[in-house]
Symmetry: C2
Subunit: 478 residues, 2 copies
């Protein structure tokens, strides 16, 4: 007797990500009931066992767990492309734009970024920022999985753009109190919303952006509540300089003394950490989020993720932000991560394709504390599944034996635009390249309208003349 | 009175690549008559001046000269994805596959690769390989521009795969004579075919792959015929070792003595060249072709293109080959080139977006000796034009003032799939994402059929057990 299910994804090249590799299943199927996967295996077996309301033909497709972008600042997508090829990225390029955006413009950016990521196969959006009106509700409605981190800091209004390069930041404890309380309230309110599709963490903006007392308080709250602390750490020479000046030690040593190094910590970037510091963080049980594209563009650096992994740590990938990445696309992050690290170590065997594929699926799920829910195709897990069309000319031909070429081609040739169909929690959000859950044209039009409004304000602000890219504009290079 | 033209591309964000930057024209138009551009300028002006048989609406599109891929081995696309994450890429991964492909399989690879490149906006295909049946005819029929380089060497059958690692190659002068004569005949026959859409060069496979007498003869022929010499040079430690063992000097010094260093030379890779050697080649007037993706994957190295440019040389970009790149996509090459060089020099200002855009348009045209025909949008040049849809979420929003964000977004966020319309020599080859000049499904099916045939032969050849990736297969990593 056959069991009823909602959906059978059949005849695909399955990469279940079970086990220590990629868990390939030839002519494989995924059975979905409600929000969950009920079985994974050969199509012949599952077809006999289940009767599905709908069968999705995955012939000549790779079938993968939905991709996970562990660290995004989606609201910044509204200023995509204003801050690259420059030094002092934040102060000399991003900040003057940022100070003229409104919360509506930021939400328009979030919608644009989420759409972009969804179309490229990202099913879990690790969005990181100050809570703003409509932010969680948008994800509830869109239907993707979101791991939201409300952040806090004690920087005065206009934050970093108002302080001179090299000066110690002044802290504003009113801001600190308000943003910490907001973040805590948000993390409580939205944890587990939308039947668990929304999860939350607590976001320490960075160790240099608040007084030590606030860092201690945040750690106590997180420990009491059982929350992860999602923290930029050792994110660049600016932070190192601030922490050195203020406390006489480097960032990793500083947060170690505060008790931050444990399995509750998600350390983002570690750009300015030495290999030994990275290994110290890894050995503590903390996880790392690596943003290869953004750190490559902003700093011209390759963070010590290889050392972190060598020390036994887990690394997830993140797309960071659009002004200085400039995209949210995990195919891009996989490729850049594999290639940057090969070039850093002058070795083609460093960070092979399968390793970076694990870093956007099963291992990033574990990093986000969602390893029991997502990250692999496995009975009992949530049905977050993507189909990638392997008949796209850049992914062809399909070779299976003696060498299977699919994973290397996904990593080194995939662009994300070959993602054909996307399911999150069993629901089809994208079918045959058509986004079913958002009005793409409306999202674009609203983003464009908002952009045109704030760019007029930027042009009217005399500070814009100091932006680093003004020289490139004058020279006809943009 | 208005002048009749065939096509007016109107209301685009034009990047003409005229001048020293990117030559932006707001609300710009391109007028096309026959195969040529007759005018470029503001839409208002050109609309008043011309009456067009067809107007292509380029609103919210970037309009660019067609992209140029200066160095491709298109036939290798049939073995895409069999040779990455390994050392000894050629001998331990590619060669065992390659030895089982037929010339039909190779042509199926060429069609696949050309289709992939065309869809990503490549209008000039710099294809490099042994002449084979149907090769030039395919490009004539497809309608793209092709700069074909027939190659020759004196390696025995099964070439490099039969020699032990580290041994000096034996030369086979029968092969040498035959392949040189073939290459010369091919270069003569096809130069200027299809109303000039097909051009040719002479391809010295590499200085280590033939005796010194042949290298001398090739230079004499090229000089006599006025052909460029398109040559892998200093392409890796294998070549350096061979040349050192045989002649007691390094590759650049060796070819310098043979008189190769002049403006006739296109030096591909220079992977193993020092900065000083690269500068020496550049100062001679020779040009460089940089294949960032393939050298990153195969060697984990960033060739000295920055030093080459600093010394005043021109650099074009190439996608090389699919087993070890793994795609032919100039957006990918632009992004990797900009980012690899930032990371090599730990500086975000190295190789800014506009520079790499010039490297796939006007500068690569000059490298290929086609600077008077293509590479910019300019009256009198051939009408090779692409439209890129800037409403794609990853390229949005469009900001124009005070900072124009289009070029950075094309380079750092573009994937090639936003290329909407492609014209070559005035003819529309791709319109609104639909390829008008090839049967995509048939190209895929034939490539897949060929692939399945030769993979059976590989699996039956006991040599396959020594392939480096067999370990990854056994470990479930592919």
């Amino acid at each position: 007797m056959t069991e009823r299910i909602n959906t059978l994804i059949a005849h695909g090249h399955l990469f279940t990500m079970q086990g220590a590799g990629v868990g390939y299943v030839a002519d494989g199927a995924v059975a979905v009931r409600g929000t969950r996967i009920v079985a994974v295996g050969p199509t012949a077996e599952l077809s006999a066992r289940f009767q599905a309301d709908e069968t999705i033909d995955a012939r000549n497709c790779a079938v993968l767990p939905g991709l996970i972008d562990a660290h995004m600042h989606t609201h910044l997508a509204i200023v995509r492309g204003v801050a690259q090829d420059v030094t002092h990225w934040m102060q000399k390029a991003l900040a003057p734009y940022w100070d003229h955006t409104t919360s509506e413009a930021q939400m328009a950016g979030t919608r644009l970024n989420a759409l972009e990521a969804l179309k490229a196969g990202t099913t879990t959006h690790g969005d990181y920022g100050f809570p703003r009106p409509g932010w969680p509700e948008f994800y509830v409605e869109l239907g993707v999985r979101a791991c939201l981190t409300p952040i806090f800091n004690a920087l005065p209004p206009r934050g970093l753009s108002s302080s001179k390069l090299g000066d110690l930041y002044e802290f504003d404890m009113q801001v600190g109190r308000r943003t910490l309380d907001n973040a805590v309230a948000f993390a409580r309110e939205w944890a587990g919303a939308a039947d668990g599709r929304i999860t939350t963490m607590l976001g320490v903006h960075a160790p240099d952006m608040m007084p030590v007392e606030m860092l201690r308080e945040a750690k106590e709250i997180a420990q009491r509540e059982g929350w992860k602390l999602h923290t930029h750490l050792s994110q660049g020479d600016r932070e190192t300089e601030q922490i050195l000046k203020r406390y006489g030690k480097r960032p990793v040593a500083f947060v170690a003394e505060l008790g931050y190094l444990d399995d509750q910590l998600l350390a983002v970037h570690l750009t300015d950490a030495t290999d030994e510091e990275a290994a110290q963080v890894a050995r503590s049980g903390a996880h790392m989020i690596l943003c290869s594209g953004s750190i490559g563009i902003i700093d011209g650096l390759v963070p010590p993720a290889y050392a972190f992994k060598q020390a036994g740590g887990l690394v997830a990938l993140g797309s960071d932000q659009a002004p200085g990445n400039n995209c949210s696309n995990m195919f891009n992050e996989m490729r850049l991560t594999a290639l940057f690290n090969k070039c850093k170590y002058a070795s083609p065997t460093v960070m092979p394709a399968w390793e970076v594929l694990r870093m956007v699926t099963i291992e990033s799920a574990q990093v986000l504390g969602l390893g029991d829910k997502i990250g692999s195709l496995e009975a009992g897990k949530e049905a977050d599944v993507i189909l990638v069309d392997l008949t796209a000319p850049n992914l062809s031909p399909i070779l299976l034996n003696p060498i299977r070429n699919i994973v290397p081609n996904l990593v080194y040739a995939g662009t994300g635009h070959e993602v054909k169909t996307v399911l999150v929690a069993g629901k089809v959000l994208v079918r045959d390249y058509a986004v079913l859950v958002a009005d793409e044209a409306a999202i674009w039009a609203e983003a464009q309208r908002q952009a045109e409004a704030f760019e007029r304000r930027v042009a009217a602000d005399p500070r814009h003349k100091d932006m680093a890219l003004m020289q490139a504009m004058a020279a006809g290079q943009l």
